[in-house]
């Protein structure tokens, strides 16, 4: 039977029509073989545009539909829906992307129109070979895995758990809390970070719907949307969690002091058995195998001797736990920029150059200096403090992007330093002040009014080499003041480097584990930067918080809640419909060569030795088509991407490439 194809060419306002001659394209399309009707319309995706298709299907008995418009990633679903409503199988539809791949990339109208015709021709040739397909129902496991126990992960976990669904929260460190637990105050409200965070941490720890796996890391991920199997390594804590009461006597008795270079960024010691901070959740400490005297020298066990609950267990082994979940939320956070990468700022070489994280810890009442701002000698209070913005950010040598939080926390520092040391002079060295956020600009004005100094310019160098007597014994900040138009040297006692946010050092490893992509800066790639910021390219895997890009607490929390809602959306549907793009082996053609068996990344192809044929397990097949391409007997067909369909599309795409027309084209 001759197929009747309807071709619809969208103007998309002037987005397409501005470059592609839509009228001519539609007219030309109507003259092509198989095409029963061709129309152009201002906005095909509008309800009127969709009705146009629906009516034509009914009236003219169209058996296939082609829409030349935007990317299928935008509106394929829309038009499939229109087909379905008019009683046509949604897979008897094909889209030609004449916007993103054509009208938007050139001003050359002639070339754009030619490409539009080629792509529509390819789609027509392909669509006549389409077969009706049914979506595949996939059951959704109602459990969710949240990776990362910072404020984003905590929020996602609580949202899901409070909605009545089970959550596994996996955190690499011994306690949840993430970076936010390290901070002192939050901008611009000056809320105490711990005061607003710790109640949520406790809620996570006690929630009946949350299984908290701290000191644990994801090792392996298998499966697909609705049915992921995740293997988690729960590292040995050497503490029996059933028995431990969290009394911390072990910590007190442990004779081994170790520099705490994680939570207190090297500013304080901890013991070999330790809780990262007093409000840690869970309350159980961890015996750090790398530094514990017993593990190094084979004797000590002071903690075991003194533990009143008998909870120390030196025989404990790492545990591998398998979790079955329907979706995953990644909230793995960020790393602070490594200040030693900018040697001219002197961090690590000039002792009174601090990082912003160090100052946060210093400002914290439970921190290494109990809230006092002092120089590296732990005694002298600075009389002048320089805060250098954009360290590692907005710098083509490091990160081109703006880390978005540094301006505001630097302003917060300016306020807090003057609050604690009213006599101290504070200098902010900034490129631009970026105070875009609710009550942010107001906070900036407040800090200015309080008397902090602002010098606009990118700092060239921090040095201890004095040129004048006033600079003697000071750190000198050398800067070109772009407002005054002159070089300045500002002598100060203390320099604070406002570190930017960067992707976790192992973000790529995590991305590969879950099958995601990373952008140039190493942050996870979202499905759509504007409209789908929490879904990734992998169905069922969401991202939230600073693993997606630099962001502050409110945005992280909002994203975390959004990711939780997306996960809930899947759970509440119970089954979702998946694209039926799957491979199938024609047993009559299969020679049993087994080439495909090892190619399948999902081990979805089994070999029946008795019949000497291979078979694709549909439920496990993900539809990549690698086996289809490899089969030497053409026994495997990939639904919706069959050999015949793709060959026909190639031919259609090159419809104007036969020799005589080619010469004409070359003369253009």
């Amino acid at each position: 039977m001759e197929e009747k194809v309807g071709v619809y060419v969208c103007h998309c306002g002037t987005n397409i029509a501005g470059t592609v001659d839509v009228m001519e394209t539609a007219q030309w399309a109507s003259e092509q073989p198989h095409v029963a009707i061709a129309r152009e319309y201002k906005f095909m995706c509008s309800s009127l545009g969709q009705e146009l298709i629906e009516n034509d299907i009914r009236e003219y008995g169209l058996t296939r539909v082609v829409v030349g418009a935007c990317s299928p990633h935008m509106h394929e679903k829309t038009f499939r829906g229109a087909c379905q409503r008019a009683g046509l199988n949604p897979f008897l539809f094909e889209m030609a992307n004449i916007r993103e791949l054509d009208s938007w990339i050139t001003n050359n109208k002639e070339a754009a129109t030619r490409n539009a015709k080629a792509m529509i021709k390819g789609a027509v040739e392909r669509v006549v070979l389409h077969q009706p397909l049914d979506y595949l129902p996939v059951e959704i496991n109602p459990h969710t895995l949240v990776v990362g126990g910072g404020i984003a992960g905590i929020t996602s976990a609580l949202e899901l758990a409070n909605s009545g669904y089970h959550v596994y929260l996996v955190e690499r460190e011994p306690s949840i809390g993430g970076h936010m637990a390290q901070w002192d105050k939050t901008f611009p409200t000056l809320d105490c970070a711990a005061c607003i965070l710790t109640p949520r941490m406790v809620e996570v720890g006690q929630h009946p719907n949350i299984t908290l796996l701290t000191y644990s890391e994801v090792e392996q991920v298998e499966g697909y949307l609705g049915n992921f199997t995740v293997t988690v390594r729960k590292k040995a804590r050497f503490i029996n969690e059933e028995l431990c009461t969290g009394c911390a006597i072990c910590e007190e008795k442990c004779p081994k002091k170790v520099i705490d270079d994680v939570f207190n960024v090297g500013m304080q010691n901890r013991k070999a058995v330790y809780k990262p901070f007093p409000q840690a959740v869970p309350m159980y400490p961890v015996v750090d195998k790398a530094t514990c005297t017993y593990f190094i020298k084979g004797k000590c066990k002071a903690c075991e001797i003194f533990c009143p609950a008998g909870a120390i267990d030196f025989e404990q082994q790492d545990e591998l736990i398998q979790l079955q979940v329907g979706s995953v939320i990644l909230a793995t956070g960020f790393d602070a920029f490594d200040a030693t990468r900018i040697p001219q700022y002197g961090y690590g070489r000039l002792s009174n150059v601090f990082t912003s994280v160090e100052l946060e810890r210093m400002l914290n009442a439970s921190g290494p200096t109990a809230g006092k701002i002092v120089l590296r000698d732990r005694n002298t209070q600075p009389e002048s403090v320089a805060i250098i913005h954009c360290v590692g950010s907005r710098d083509e040598n490091y990160h081109e992007y703006c880390s978005r939080v540094c301006c505001m926390y630097s302003l917060k520092f300016a306020h807090l330093v003057r609050e604690r040391l009213p006599e101290a002079e504070v200098y902010n060295f900034y490129i631009d002040i970026r105070a875009a956020g609710k009550r942010y600009e107001e906070f900036y004005h407040r800090v200015m009014k309080e008397g902090a100094n602002f010098i606009r310019g990118k700092v060239a160098e921090v040095t201890d080499i004095a040129r004048t007597p006033e600079e003697e014994g000071k750190l000198v900040v050398q800067v070109y003041d772009t407002l005054a138009g002159m070089q300045r040297r500002i002598p100060v006692d203390m320099v604070v480097l406002s570190l930017g946010m960067e992707a976790r050092h192992d973000a790529l490893k995590v991305a590969q584990l879950f099958g995601l992509g990373c952008d140039f800066s190493g942050f996870f790639t979202e499905r759509h930067p504007k409209l789908d910021p929490v879904l990734t390219m992998v169905e069922g895997i969401f991202i939230a918080g600073a693993c997606q890009g630099p962001m502050a607490i409110p945005e992280s929390v909002a994203q975390a809640a959004a990711a939780a809602v997306r996960s809930l959306g899947l759970i509440s549907q119970e089954t979702v419909l998946m694209e039926p793009v799957r491979a199938h082996i024609n047993e009559a053609k299969c020679s049993g060569c087994r080439i495909c068996n090892n190619l399948c990344p999902y081990t979805a192809i089994v070999f029946h030795a008795e019949r000497r044929v291979s078979e694709v397990i549909t439920a496990m097949c993900q539809g990549c088509g690698t086996c289809v391409a490899a089969c030497p007997s053409s026994a495997i067909s990939g639904a919706h991407f069959t050999h015949e369909q793709l060959m026909a599309q190639v031919q259609g795409l090159l419809w104007d490439m036969s020799e005589p027309e080619r010469r004409e084209l070359a003369a253009v």
């Binding site: 990317s71 299928p72 990633h73 992307n97 916007r99 993103e100 791949l101 054509d102 938007w104 990339i105 050139t106 001003n107 070339a111 754009a112 490409n115 080629a118 792509m119 390819g122 790529l508 590969q512 099958g515 995601l516 992509g517 990373c518 952008d519 140039f520 790639t525 390219m537 992998v538 793009v581 190619l599 990344p601 999902y602 993900q622 539809g623 990549c624 088509g625 690698t626 289809v628 391409a629 490899a630 007997s633 053409s634 990939g638 991407f641 050999h643 793709l646 060959m647 599309q649 190639v650 031919q651 795409l653 090159l654 490439m657 036969s658 020799e659 080619r662 070359a666 003369a667 253009v668």
Partner: protein
């Protein structure tokens, strides 16, 4: 004649990375040579040599295969299969006398719209320098060798059918 020869490239773009890179280039209104006509495949691993040869035979001057970066493949390692197949295909094409620039492999992640645009620009320039492929003359004829069904009306599909039939 002051004509500029415009090569035609067929691009096989994987659904998850490269097609999205192309979408992104468009959305960002990055202008690049409008010489590529794209086909979306789910994975670059789906691109069998047959499709590339078909495109060259049908008049394309070059073929660009684009997939996710190694290690970032949506289907774990489909792109590595592509890489292996591509290496073999290049050897085959070299024997046909097809210049290596005519078939290229590119890794472009979903965020690498500019990289994809640059690759198309670069490839267009290379093909412009090479001139048209003209498969029928340069590959099928001109060297005194005529495949058995080079007669009018016959096509290579028949050859492959015959070959499979004999096996």
């Amino acid at each position: 004649m002051s004509e500029v020869y415009e090569p035609v490239i067929v691009g096989f773009l994987c659904n998850w990375c490269s097609y999205r890179a192309a979408d992104l280039a468009g959305t960002a209104r990055l202008h690049y040579a409008p010489n590529m006509r794209a086909i979306r495949v789910m994975c670059s691993g789906r691109v069998e040599p047959d499709l590339v040869l078909k495109a060259l035979r049908e008049g394309a001057d070059g073929v660009l295969i684009a997939g996710c970066h190694p290690g970032e493949c949506h289907y774990i390692e489909g792109n590595l299969k592509t890489l292996r197949r591509y290496a073999l295909l290049k050897r085959l094409l070299a024997q046909f006398g097809v210049e290596p620039e005519r078939v290229q492999l590119l890794w472009a992640s979903a965020s690498e719209g500019p990289a994809l645009a640059e690759a198309v620009d670069r490839m267009t320039e290379q093909l412009r320098a090479l001139g048209p492929l003209r498969w029928k003359v340069s590959v099928l004829g001109g060297n005194g060798y005529h495949p058995m069904v080079a007669a009018p009306g016959g096509d290579e599909a028949e050859v492959s059918d015959m070959l499979t039939a004999e096996v």
